[in-house]
Symmetry: C2
Subunit: 298 residues, 2 copies
């Protein structure tokens, strides 16, 4: 088995475990409030790649963290990712009808339910992180909450979403785009890597190294998204393509050219890998994940 | 000074302290993401009564908790309350243009910014609770996070909002309405009371007693809202009145009559006070708060 197929196999395996954990963490409920839980399940159990849970679990594995803990952290991060997609797809935001080949939540349910389901997924992530089942030490649980809240909030993902909404008027250069993406998607990709070190009781320096790996692989991941928007088809990516260009939005491809964007992604993947030096062969999956992020087609 | 004026004075004083804490916790930020922080500040620094922070602080005072801790917890709960108002006011939800006499966030900014500002306020609440400045013991911080997430999520506030959206088709009786309100508003009112006991290192039994007080005073508070919707004027309440009746929504007044609703609120306030028996004179402010909730005019 090549390294890449080892990575793809691990990604699929952790995705399966993550789906089972999410299913258990979001049981259907009776009563009229059950509709919002149905919408949460629709949003969270939709068969995404589960890259963020993979990163949480694979990073935790470096430090001998039990899977029972790292899978819960991965599921919590995925809840936040899914909530952000639900809100991003709303008519007042990106106004998307299709997500991973299915109707978006506000299309399958309605706008109000989509707003509430997003809110509740975000909230539930903190229920999961703060529960003793995630880690016996409350200090670790509180640190995980602090990490996720920072990554998801105005200084992280939401800040990036705000910039993205205004990006049409900002004429961002490649460095401005990198900052936008580091906030909008990078922080939430890096949080799984940081959380692995936190769960493993590592020093702040190790947490930072893991975070630097995650941020750089996350940026490579996003640049590959821009490349796919130009090169890919809806059948491959599961969503509408050519949309960025149609919207006149600056992308890494429009700023750096197609080859320039691909090269930038590859160099970021190399930089990401350089942060894993201390972990030797144990970090093989994470190295492959960085390569995949820079070169993916879906 | 009568007890009631002691309560009103304490409420105003804690509101002032809470506003100062919120102002410090939500500093303006430069850069294009600053717009979402402006909207968060607009939503959170609008001069509400700050009943939830009052309950967090007054409950904490029973157990000798330093104000530096309880004010942060109160501010975190208020962030969640404010986020819920921002999202509730959206066109896809209650579609309100006016809140506390000012344009709602989506009117003052735009819908997308309002969605993001709500998301970020909810997230920031968990940053605040998980920080060591809120309590030196991580186990206490994690417990506070768990309490707030449960109160705010699908098993609490969001669940209640979901029921409320569907209430027109549910023909709820008074007991169904009480359940709706316990979820929609009660949980987030009770959380401050519970948090005071958690911050004070009290037993689960004491946390439950405080929560029972909060839930009952919270229901009284909500029934008074229905009474005001019939009896009040927009000038007094700072929002449109007569709206429930116009929308054909079941309310405590439509189910129990005006006097029945007032009596129910008063009996709930009495029950709430009965849960404070163990705390003697120290709980005077909380007793007055229950009476105020049942009989308020704004």
């Amino acid at each position: 088995m090549t390294n890449t197929s080892a990575f793809k196999s691990a990604l699929a395996s952790i995705a399966g475990e993550t789906n089972a954990v999410l299913d258990r963490l979001l049981p259907p409920v009776p009563g009229p409030e059950g509709r919002v839980v149905e919408a949460m399940r629709y949003a969270a159990l939709d068969g995404g790649k589960r890259l963020r849970p993979f990163l949480a679990v694979a990073s935790s594995d470096l430090f001998g963290v039990p899977r029972a803990h790292s899978l819960r952290v991965g599921a919590a991060i995925e809840m936040v990712h899914c909530y952000s997609l639900v809100h991003d797809d709303l008519p007042a935001m990106d106004d998307d009808d299709l997500r991973r080949g299915r109707p978006t939540v506000h299309k399958a349910f309605d706008e109000a339910t989509a707003i509430l389901a997003g809110d509740a997924l975000l909230t539930e992530a903190f229920t999961v992180l703060s529960a003793p089942e995630t880690h016996p030490d409350g200090n670790v649980r509180a640190a995980l909450v602090a990490e996720l809240a920072r990554a998801a909030g105005a200084a992280g993902m939401v800040g990036g979403q705000m910039i993205d909404l205004r990006a049409g008027g900002l004429a961002l250069d490649a460095s401005g785009l990198a900052r936008l993406q580091n906030l909008k998607t990078g922080c939430l990709i890096a949080i799984g890597c940081r959380a692995g070190a936190v769960l493993g009781g590592q020093s702040a320096a190790v947490v930072e190294e893991m975070g630097a790996y995650g941020l750089k692989m996350g940026l490579a991941f996003q640049i590959a998204d821009d490349v796919m928007d130009v090169e890919g088809s809806a059948a491959e990516t599961g969503k509408a393509t050519g949309k960025d260009a149609a919207a006149g939005k600056a992308t890494f491809v429009s700023r750096l050219g197609l080859e320039g964007a691909k090269n930038y992604a590859r160099s970021l993947a190399d930089e990401a890998v350089s942060h894993l030096g201390a972990f030797g062969e144990k970090a093989g999956l994470l190295r492959e994940a960085a390569v995949f992020s820079a070169t993916r087609r879906s």
